[in-house]
């Protein structure tokens, strides 16, 4: 019998599979989002400075709400821009 390692596929069976998304706050146990840390918050906004949807970031609803408040606070304090071009 051929073992699992010996079986060879003509094409890569992993192609076409989607990587499982996860909530990074839940996974790494981050409980507080600092609105004064632009380097962290920049991960959740796009080039125009708009918030990225949960569909893309994989955040859970609870933490998506917290991310959005943190980004809005940062915008008020001019830590992040309200609108921009080529932010990243």
């Amino acid at each position: 019998m051929a073992t699992q390692d010996e079986i060879k596929f003509l094409s890569n069976p992993n192609i076409g599979k989607k990587a499982q998304k996860y909530c990074r706050f839940k996974k790494f146990g981050l409980r507080h989002i600092d609105y004064k840390d632009p380097d962290f918050l920049i991960q959740f906004i796009n080039q125009q400075g708009k918030l990225l949807p949960r569909r893309l970031t994989g955040n859970s609803l609870k933490f998506q709400r917290r991310v959005s408040t943190a980004v809005k606070r940062a915008r008020h304090l001019a830590i992040l821009p309200y609108v921009s071009d080529l932010l990243k």
Partner: protein, 149 residues
């Protein structure tokens, strides 16, 4: 006891002492109203993401304090609003995770990761066998001595 955090931006046109005295007035307000200061973070001069009052930079301050009730916050915010030296301010109440986060930040558990010192790669010379260091001249001499003998 509730813990709060007030962040504000001071006009950078003021001199260093004036900026400090501005921050001091708000620390005094908090202390006089019965709050106790936990930490005053002078973040310092930072570029603004967009210009405010035709200024492109601002001096950031963050004061963390605890108070029995938040009743004097309105008074503090009114003072901040009336002050022309303050460009922006924001007061938030910290939950237990926020308190923990700020504590860890102060003790250095959270923050900018200090880059490790680059490990010195063993230079190419170290790996060259000993022979390579012997100059051609000495080899010549050795050869001569052996042939003579």
């Amino acid at each position: 006891m509730r813990q709060f955090e007030v962040t504000f931006i001071v006009d950078p046109v003021l001199s260093g002492d004036e900026v400090k005295s501005t921050a001091k007035t708000y620390q005094d307000i908090i202390v006089n109203e019965g709050g106790n200061l936990i930490h005053v973070d002078e973040i310092g001069l930072k570029p603004l993401a967009y210009s405010i009052n035709k200024r492109s930079t601002g001096v950031y301050y963050c004061i963390e304090f605890a108070a029995e009730s938040g009743s004097f916050i309105a008074k503090l915010e009114l003072a901040l609003k009336r002050d022309e030296r303050i460009m922006r301010f924001l007061t938030v109440r910290l939950d237990k995770f926020g308190i923990k986060y700020n504590e860890d930040k102060r003790t250095g558990k959270i923050g900018k990761r200090v880059p490790k010192e680059p490990t010195v790669k063993k230079s190419h010379i170290d790996t060259i066998p000993y022979q390579a260091f012997v100059s051609d001249q000495t080899i010549q001499e050795v050869k001569e001595t052996t042939t003579n003998a």
